[in-house]
């Protein structure tokens, strides 16, 4: 069997997904036995021009992590799309926008104003901020154009596979290695995770879903056996796709929703909001007002990883 060609790219990303790929530990030797890695900026010294020189569809699978928020990332996403038989959106950022997509509560001007002008530790008396084009004596310098809106990968190019998670767990990354080794890639459109919500794989004891108070994670030490939502913590589990091995739950922390919505749920944020308000005991205006004070940041808490693919996608411009 001729060696497969594999590529990995990091876009608007924290770098954690590249580390997560290496979580497969010694199985990396299995990978290099069956595949040549032809592009992986963090790990190997190939350049953009090497990708440009490749024939179309010559990369078998490209693992693309990170969201898309500037013109360079947009360009490389389209370049890798052309050169790859299959694109796999690796991690929550590529799948849904991820944490970077919380930037959709601002826009470029607001972000630059805060970062380069207002931030208390700045010393920037000339009020300089990055420009797309800057003339210097030697010529013209170019920076990528910074977008107002952060996008998920499949909002820029067609994507065959999705592996959610922040970062994806090693068990699911291993499924990709198995698929490559056996030359049996799943059907396009496959989301490599569970088809059920997290509650299905959560081991905790679930009784009556009725709460009279919502707590922020630092306010209580939860009981390790009982459902976290029933204890008043905002656990996004009911509105989150399973398959992560309930890692956060096992660490006695509520789910934050990094696997995105379960099947047939379009807007994870609205659905979780609905679930939480439904189980809260409040039948008069005073109690409802109290509930509202207890959910400090509904937009960020319920949409933490999925702003790009949520129905409204961003704060109104």
């Amino acid at each position: 069997m001729a060696k497969l060609k594999l590529a990995v790219y990091w876009s608007a990303s924290c770098g954690g997904c590249d580390v997560a790929i290496l979580d497969i530990a010694e199985r990396i030797l299995d990978v290099v036995a069956i595949a040549d890695v032809v592009f992986w900026p963090v790990a190997i010294d190939f350049k953009y021009k090497d990708v440009e020189a490749m024939a179309d569809n010559s990369i078998d699978v490209c693992l693309f992590n990170g969201a898309v928020r500037n013109s360079e990332q947009d360009h490389i996403a389209k370049l890798l799309r052309a050169k790859s038989k299959a694109l796999l959106a690796y991690g929550s950022c590529a799948c849904f926008g991820g944490i970077p997509s919380l930037g959709n509560f601002n826009c470029r001007d607001e972000a630059f104003q805060r970062a380069y002008i207002e931030a208390p530790t700045n010393v920037n008396t000339d009020h300089l901020s990055p420009q797309t084009l800057t003339k210097v004596p030697e010529g013209e310098l170019e920076l990528p154009e910074y977008w107002d809106t952060v996008l998920a990968l499949n909002q820029v190019v067609a994507v065959e596979y999705f592996l959610p998670g922040c970062p994806p767990p090693v068990e699911l990354t291993n499924k990709i290695v198995d698929a490559l080794a056996s030359e049996q890639l799943p059907p396009p459109g496959t989301i490599i995770a569970s088809d059920k919500s997290l509650c299905e794989e959560c081991d905790r004891i679930k009784e009556d879903k009725k709460i009279t108070r919502i707590y922020r994670p630092h306010e209580i030490t939860p009981d390790r056996e009982r459902c976290l939502l029933e204890q008043g913590l905002i656990c996004i589990g009911p509105a989150t796709r399973g398959g992560c091995g309930q890692r956060c739950i096992k660490a006695n922390m509520p789910c934050r929703g990094c696997f995105g919505p379960p099947p047939r749920v379009i807007d994870q944020g609205a659905k979780m909001l609905s679930a939480l308000a439904s189980i809260y005991e409040a039948n008069d205006e005073g109690a409802i007002a109290r509930m509202l004070t207890e959910v400090v940041d509904p937009a960020g808490t319920f949409n933490r990883f999925v702003m790009s693919t949520s129905m409204l996608q961003r704060k109104r411009l």
């Binding site: 308000a277 809260y280 039948n283 937009a299 319920f302 961003r314 109104r316």
Partner: protein, 137 residues
């Protein structure tokens, strides 16, 4: 030509929709901007539906149910009250103004109240203008 708001109205079958119907049969004139969707209970209105209405082009969403204590299914309207209150708080963070989403109670006999609410929300949304499409579609 002044802006004509597009408002989607979810109305519960037992109270609000019948109140709306009474307004109609009584020949009450009200603003024509509300597109009616009959649901069995205001508690059935999933927040996703409200957001989808905005996503699809609505400038405002009206949800009408039975008065507290009078819900045909006992507690559905209380659930609606909690969900829509929390939804409005979240939507404010998205820049969707408070007046665009309204939950209110209309009984089957309150054709005049239906007319008043429809006229009010239409004018409030007209003043706010179209919901920003963020420069797309």
């Amino acid at each position: 030509m002044s802006f004509e708001p597009k408002i989607v109205g979810f109305m519960c079958n037992w109270c609000a929709y019948r109140g709306a119907d009474l307004a109609g049969t009584s020949r009450m004139k009200s603003a024509p901007n509300v597109r009616t969707v009959r649901v069995m209970c205001s508690g059935r209105v999933d927040p996703q539906l409200v957001v989808k209405a905005l996503q699809l082009g609505a400038d405002g969403v009206l949800i009408l149910g039975c008065h507290p204590g009078d819900c045909h299914y006992t507690e559905g309207n209380y659930k609606a009250a909690r969900r829509i209150a929390l939804l409005k708080k979240m939507l404010a963070q998205f820049g969707v103004e408070d007046e665009r989403i309204r939950l209110d109670w209309v009984s089957a006999s309150e054709g005049d109240r239906f007319k008043k609410i429809v006229n009010e929300i239409t004018e409030q949304v007209r003043v706010l203008g179209p919901l920003s499409r963020n420069g797309s579609d």
